[in-house]
Symmetry: C2
Subunit: 416 residues, 2 copies
Amino acid sequence: VRAASGDHSLADVLHVIRVDGARSRAEVMDATGLTRAVATQRIAELADSGLIVPDGTAPSTGGRPPRHVRFAADAGTLLVADLGATSIDVALTDLGGTVLAHLGEPADVSDGPVKVLGRLEQLFTRLVARRRSDPAVRAIGIGVPGPVEFGSGLPVSPPIMPGWDGYPIRDRFTARFGVPVWVDNDVNVMALGEWRHGIARGHDNVVYVKVGTGIGAGLISDGQLHRGSQGAAGDIGHIQVTPDADVRCRCGNTGCLEAIAGGGALGAAGEQAARDGRSPVLAAALHERGRVTAQDVAAAAGRGDATAFALLQRAGKDLGNTIAGLVNFFNPSLIVLGGGVSHAGDVLIASVREVVYRRSLPLATRDLLIRRTALGDRGGVIGAATMAADELFSRTALPRWIGDRATGAGVAVAHV
Amino acid sequence: VRAASGDHSLADVLHVIRVDGARSRAEVMDATGLTRAVATQRIAELADSGLIVPDGTAPSTGGRPPRHVRFAADAGTLLVADLGATSIDVALTDLGGTVLAHLGEPADVSDGPVKVLGRLEQLFTRLVARRRSDPAVRAIGIGVPGPVEFGSGLPVSPPIMPGWDGYPIRDRFTARFGVPVWVDNDVNVMALGEWRHGIARGHDNVVYVKVGTGIGAGLISDGQLHRGSQGAAGDIGHIQVTPDADVRCRCGNTGCLEAIAGGGALGAAGEQAARDGRSPVLAAALHERGRVTAQDVAAAAGRGDATAFALLQRAGKDLGNTIAGLVNFFNPSLIVLGGGVSHAGDVLIASVREVVYRRSLPLATRDLLIRRTALGDRGGVIGAATMAADELFSRTALPRWIGDRATGAGVAVAHV
């Protein structure tokens, strides 16, 4: 029976104004089903709290023209981070997810949480110190490259993050910055950002596929992020795509998609081609930097290298076969390809398209789009900001925001 | 902005009483977030309409003991049908999905809609004629073995239903019986029934896999049926499981799961084994009935036939590999196996379990259950009743019910 508790109307009104773009009381009533009296009162409360502001008037249809409102994205800021396998990206954004300041640098997530999060804390502190006249930080959002139990914010057996299992990321940052902290899997966060601010806007069913060192997916299911029952949804990198027992994956199994079509596999195949003398372009890359990466393979393909082209095509085909299965199962209206490898030319996405349209059922592909991410390298931090704002203004957390304003309680980060 | 329209509180109150089991005003307020005044009014309206009835009192905690209410499942009946590839099952149920009368017979869906639906109409009419003192029919729910555009109730390019593409099933039955009609894919309907009334109760993320002549899946995603963007979700029978170009599927592609592990494939493999002299038990079945079915293979395995056992084990392994991929992607807490082949002994389900637990990631299988359907052969009609009741009492349709009662308008089927 206890599906929910308390009065949700305040959060619901803010949601339709902030996310769906309702501007007038009439639109709020229409979108929420609330009565005129309740809608009027909730709009007034949100205006008092500073979360919505007047935004002109609508054309009059006779009588007094209705006043318009909009979400006050500048009523606070968010500190956000996208931890990748080999990078840290941090940003200060407004409450609408617009990036105000950004810092990025290489990092190795396998160095463990003490070192990596220590560095993240320094970067956050630097962003806060620089923010000058920007409003106070209201929340922190962090994406990490592994499964997270979203309710607790704890990483759970993340395969490429040794030492992170069960590490209390949330507690550490709450203690340090005194604001609420939310942590999720990086691909979930990217899917959320792409859905709210990128190419997936307006789609209710989306599969976001990140092809980086590893391969993972984020799902929007019937208009909400689908995390699955343990927060493990989207782990498509370890779907078996070949019975070949020689293809060993870092997960311990054999024949996984990631072990064949991931950035690591692509780089290794490119390096082998360089050593075998099958690709002069890749041989030059190997000679220059001592190794070949997936980016090198993509660049070589772009310069017309036949071997590199074939490697990308092969990876696209394997990826396409797996995605075709997901299309049959889940019937999304959009597939978004993101991550480092996806940025690199059109070969990969063309191969994926070709296989998906051939292998998926006609009904499932009738209106299916396959597109590259619109947010590029910023997808992770924009997604983390989207997550943090959604949680901060949720039915559960919003009353706390309003309460803090009413009692004049500041936010500790102002004193950092 | 127009996410929804109008006041949903009446439908929401009925939902928490009917589905979630709220019994008192306090529980209704807790579950819906409505104020005391609105909850009181809505409960009174539902009682006036006959949809909820008094159900004793709660223990007093001092003062007047609170009155309890429950959903009046006997306030009407539903006519429901489960059209399979080779069978028709019809039932008269109460509004809670309890079967009051049931009829079933063989049928061939490829005979086309005119013949099959003509027969269905006769069966419905027979059920209605028999119903005697049962209350009036309020709605019709039909499951069909192919994709359906749920909004319109039209089948869309159903692969095994020649002649059904775009056939107006809903209009035909509305015209004949004068009540609202809802049509959906049979596996969606089974998933819904299993989730509300069967083994999937309480699970928010469920994959129901039907293994019959074909193979299909129904998904519960975050507490609602996931139909996908074209109503095509769950079509897992045509996921490629082998690159072997000799495995031809009726869909036109090669290497599909259904062409390897479906009931049709299993029967054909059994018949081949019978002809090759590899299985005396299957040879006897072939001799007796001129063909070998998947049921024969399952029965032979149950009697210790090694060849039949190996065939089922192989099908279970292929099915398990595909399901393992879905588990990684979707992270359900429960897999339900249903359909004719699943009823037949433990070999298949044991093989599926073995592969899924080995191939899926530890986090995704930590609390994963794999179970057989609890509703057996009745799963289709119970599911169709669940769908019809959910739609009849939805935010959109409920006001019409209340309106009809208020104006004393009867339901035409009473005159059949």
